[in-house]
Amino acid sequence: MSRMLLLRRLAGNRSILLAYAGAVVLFAVTSAFSPGFASASHVRILLIQASFIGIVALGQSFVILGGGIDLSVPWTLNGAAILVTLFANGKDGPLWWAIPLVLALGACVGLLNGLGIALLGISPIIMTLGMNVILSGALLLYTNGAPTAVAPSAIQTLATGRVGPVPYDTLLWAGLAAIATLVLTWTALGRHLYALGTNRTVALFSGVATLRVTVVTYVVSGVAASLAGIVLTGYTGQAYLGMGDPYLFSSVAAVAIGGASILGGSGHYLGTVAGALILTVLAGLLPILNLNPAALQIIYGLVILVTVAAATLPGRQAVAR
């Protein structure tokens, strides 16, 4: 039954298959124009870069599936990156408590977002936009505007090291994707999440603990953004201010490409994974086409617009007056 549910959701959801097909085609085309793009070492780099978008977008997927949006990911990510380097101070020793602490702080950010939205009825856009600005100010206050510590070597290994041909980071991402798929497809929480995103009132009357499920989605997003921040520091070697900024648009774009409805209730994290891969290949394509790096931001925006418009158009008759 449950397995059929997954198969049906995947087969029935053509947009997820389309997203993977798109990723493969895009990769093939790019490789054809650029020798070395498909080499094992470059594919590893692409996978690592895609994982940052993918991990942030895991949280964003949960939030969007539940009918919300999380605009606080940039500074949640940045905060985790800054704090983990500050706590560890370049040494591996303190990581055993620093990493759990930073993830817990990310969970607290999500908890506050979720409570403000579900309990106090504040609109998700305002709550998370406000949270993002509060976090930016708080982190600037804490670090006095200049974080300096270097990422501990263990985190750098996590981000760039590998077992055999596969990077640790890819294993981490695959593990998270498996867990997310498990939760979305086979657990009550997953089903409640889809119910919540489809229609909050109906979900409430059907016995879904809407408050708890909403809060859980934002907590997942807070933890995911923090984790991405930790791994990203390992990749860049250092935390810097503004490192989270690109991930607001890219995480929403990855979810949108993956075929999820931006209004909630439909989509799957497996689609988002394809979305993250597509965005990463696109970013790799820009220098080949001699395009300005700023084009990436334009592409993120256009991709969100086009996918959202395309998903909305077929249903337009029903909504139209």
């Binding site: 936009l129 949270m131 100010g137 600037l140 648009f249 990436l296 959202v308 418009a309 909305t312």
Partner: protein
């Protein structure tokens, strides 16, 4: 419907009176709390502003002078211009996150294309204002015709126009000719241009409020379906509102470059949250239909003065975003709780 259009406090009272008349035709007694809650959206921001001015007066020197009025008006004006556009869109029941991209783009174009001033500068300034309106019109078109959610449309166009700004001007820089800066620093009749512009905005608002689109915006914000059924051209109204928002964002960016004398591809991002915060702190409801520029002016002044007080007290300026964010969330909370309470009373 007629009562909802003139807006402000009176309309709320009338609406509530009509709704509360109930089947027996007897108006329930309005407690002092009801009256307080109905006047709160406009009274609270001005009370807060009064307190803030008093605090600033006690810690700063020469606060109650014409010079200080000129300085603070200039500091407030870019935000107020962007927030004026945001007020219009929020009154409509929407939200515009793309103002960040528009402000950045405006400063980028101005800093790279104004040259040494003269007619070229004037033409480019006009083009920038038109571009802002066109960008807003596009948002409005996507929201009204394709019936997409305003937040996702403007999130996407925010990304697009920030990208274009980065393309034109990759890092902070460029230059603004003196001719453009002098105009903003002039003091006709001893009062600086920004003060006159704030007065101009007030006059504009009183005019707009009575025009057909102005009434339509408030009507659509109160109930899109009822407005449509009452003959309000909802599509055109929505597009007008977003076009005005883009236009005001461009004006905000143009005024900003007179202060920074350079462009920045990212400076606009600060104006997204701040413009929404100015509107909401000013008592305009995020659900649409209620509020106006009067509150927004107080909201923008509060946010500007907080920065000044923090600067005067020699506290880290990093506190400004923290306070702004907290104030925004508290204002939204107060607004929705008030709305919940008055609605309950109206039905009871």
């Amino acid at each position: 419907m007629g009562t909802g259009l003139e807006g402000g406090v009176e309309a709320t009272v009338l609406e509530q009176g009509a709704a509360a008349a109930g089947p027996r035709g007897r108006r329930p007694r309005r407690s002092a709390l009801d009256v307080a809650l109905q006047t709160a959206p406009i009274a609270v921001p001005y009370l807060m502003l009064g307190v803030l001015i008093a605090v600033y007066g006690s810690v700063g020197n020469g606060v109650f002078t014409l010079g200080q009025l000129n300085v603070q008006s200039a500091a407030m004006l870019p935000l107020l211009l962007v927030a004026t556009g945001q007020t219009i869109v929020i009154l409509l029941g929407g939200i515009d996150l793309s103002v960040g991209g528009v402000v950045s783009l405006t400063t980028a174009i101005a800093a790279t294309r104004f040259g040494h001033g003269g007619p070229r500068m004037v033409l480019w300034a006009l083009a920038i204002v038109l571009l802002g309106a066109a960008i807003g019109l596009l948002n409005g078109l996507l929201v009204a015709r394709l019936r997409l959610q305003p937040f996702i449309v403007t999130l996407a166009t925010w990304s697009v126009w920030s990208g274009v700004a980065l393309w034109i001007l990759p890092t902070d820089g460029g230059s603004i000719p003196h001719g453009f800066i002098d105009w903003a620093n002039a003091t006709p009749l001893g009062i600086a241009t920004p003060v006159w512009l704030v007065l101009g905005l007030v006059v504009f608002w009183h005019w707009l409020k009575r025009t057909r689109p102005g009434i339509g915006i408030r009507a659509v914000g109160s109930s899109e379906n009822s407005s449509y059924l009452s003959g309000v051209p909802t599509t055109v109204t929505t597009m007008t509102a977003y076009a005005l928002c883009g236009l005001f964002a461009a004006l905000g960016g143009l005024f900003l470059v007179t202060q920074t004398a350079s462009g920045s591809p990212t400076v606009g991002n600060d104006y997204i949250l701040n413009s929404v915060a100015a509107v909401v702190i000013g008592g305009t409801s995020l659900f649409g239909g209620r509020g106006g520029l009067g509150g927004t002016i107080a909201g923008a002044a509060i946010l500007t003065l907080i920065a000044s007080v923090i600067f005067t007290l020699n506290i880290s300026s990093f506190w400004t975003p923290v306070l702004t964010g907290v104030l925004l969330i508290l204002a939204v909370l107060a607004n929705s709780l008030t709305q919940l309470y008055t609605r309950r009373r109206g039905i009871a």
